[in-house]
Symmetry: C2
Subunit: 229 residues, 2 copies
DNA sequence: CGTGCGCTTGACTTTTTTCAATAAAGGTGG
DNA sequence: CCACCTTTATTGAAAAAAGTCAAGCGCACG
């Protein structure tokens, strides 16, 4: 039962008794998504939520002129599209695969009835929602109170925290996507990377590798205590 | 039993059986907050959450230079400060009373044990979190993809939806606070209001009253299909 | 009655975007 | 394996949007 093991490995379902894992396995649908394919659109009816198993997807908002703001890039094991399960019925954003991906889809009604019977699952799901709220408040803070160099510095520091201790970090998305995640455009991002390098804060190795040379400098930038010249 | 009635009137607790309302009444603490008083600060340990009963509070982020970004202004009956109950333990933002206010405080552990026993309460709380996520995604979208005139137009339309049908609407916060809610500064807000009035989109009546003269124009602004000259 | 705070307006600066051109990279099919 | 073509990234110059600094008005509150 490959499927049951996959479900059991999802943090959201940690602590569920085996029989309830089996219940989940009965209602779940595996979805395979090709790179570039849309998973859902803003305004679509949300009849359930997803958990990313492998690959990479982006959750984003879209302006009429085509500009995107990425809200979230789930890591494997993380749920997405869960808001309409609990309020509002429709997806508040778009989801598209950045790479060929695989996810599990949990239909709403079966999941809700499971929630009703299982307090541990309830608390896990609330923790997921609360963590995402926390990240969004940080995002709002960054967009509103920091300039682009500060946002970028904060992002580098964030990445370096969750990776190995070395000052080397690998961007797992393209610079276009990174710009969209930071609420700016590729040209601006490119210029700011160049300025950071010129000031000796970072060094770029290839296109997707960044080495942090001056962590304190980045922290000062992220906190607004310093500017790039 | 004034208190029980107040608790029963809170949407979050809708559908709770009387004995559980009594449980809540036993653990709840009434907090009276004076205008200008801090309720909690970012980083404080969150030992429970609040429900606003009367008055007005702002939930906001603070930049080192003192600039504020308001995240949320709960209406009476709405909970706030609930994120640390479910994840992370510390408040992600500041809360301060804009007017003399009264709120109920629910200690975390007692509330969590109640959640575990009550599926309806669970689903209500998840709906609260999911709705807030939805609002934050809209906020991120506005900050990133709209310019200030578009954000202001969207805000007016939002206010006019939840009030009476007339094109007249009353701002319930100062323009300084409104600027902070929209992610800008009072000077910019002032200029844009003047431009909107000059273009015949709105008319300002006194300092806190706005009359919408051209709803379609505001909608075009909010959708990015038009610009102020 | 004065002081202070909220609000407005002007002039200027800074930041970011836009438009355009070019260069580099990556994947596909021959 | 290479040539081609689309996507991704960089750089420059100009424009636009928003923020800063400063001054002044008016109303409310003590």
């Amino acid at each position: 039962m490959e499927l049951i093991n996959q479900i059991a490995a999802i943090p959201l379902f940690e602590g569920l008794p085996p029989d309830q894992l089996k219940d989940l396995a009965r209602i779940v649908v595996t979805k395979v998504i090709k790179r570039g394919q849309m998973i859902f659109s803003e305004g679509d009816e949300g009849t359930g939520f997803y958990v990313l198993i492998s690959g990479r997807v982006k959750i984003f908002k879209l302006a009429p002129d085509g500009k995107e703001q990425i809200l979230h890039i789930p890591v494997p094991g993380e749920p997405f599209g869960e808001v309409p399960v609990f309020a509002g019925e429709r997806f508040p954003a778009y989801a598209e695969a950045l790479e060929d991906s695989r996810s599990l889809f949990f239909p709403r009604s079966a999941f809700v009835s499971l929630v009703k019977r299982n307090p541990a699952l309830t608390l896990n799901m609330m923790a997921v929602l609360a963590r995402r709220l926390r990240r969004f408040t940080t995002m709002i803070e960054n967009l509103s109170l920091k300039e682009v160099p500060g946002r970028l510095a904060a992002h580098f520091l964030y990445l370096s925290e969750r990776k190995e201790g070395a000052g080397e970090l690998r961007l797992d998305i393209s610079k276009n996507q990174l710009a969209s995640l930071l609420g700016t455009i590729p040209e601006t991002l490119s210029r700011i990377l160049a300025r950071m390098a010129k000031e000796g804060l970072i060094e770029t190795v290839g296109q997707r590798q960044i080495r942090i040379l001056n962590r304190a400098g980045l922290e000062a930038l992220a906190e607004g205590g310093k500017r790039l010249s």
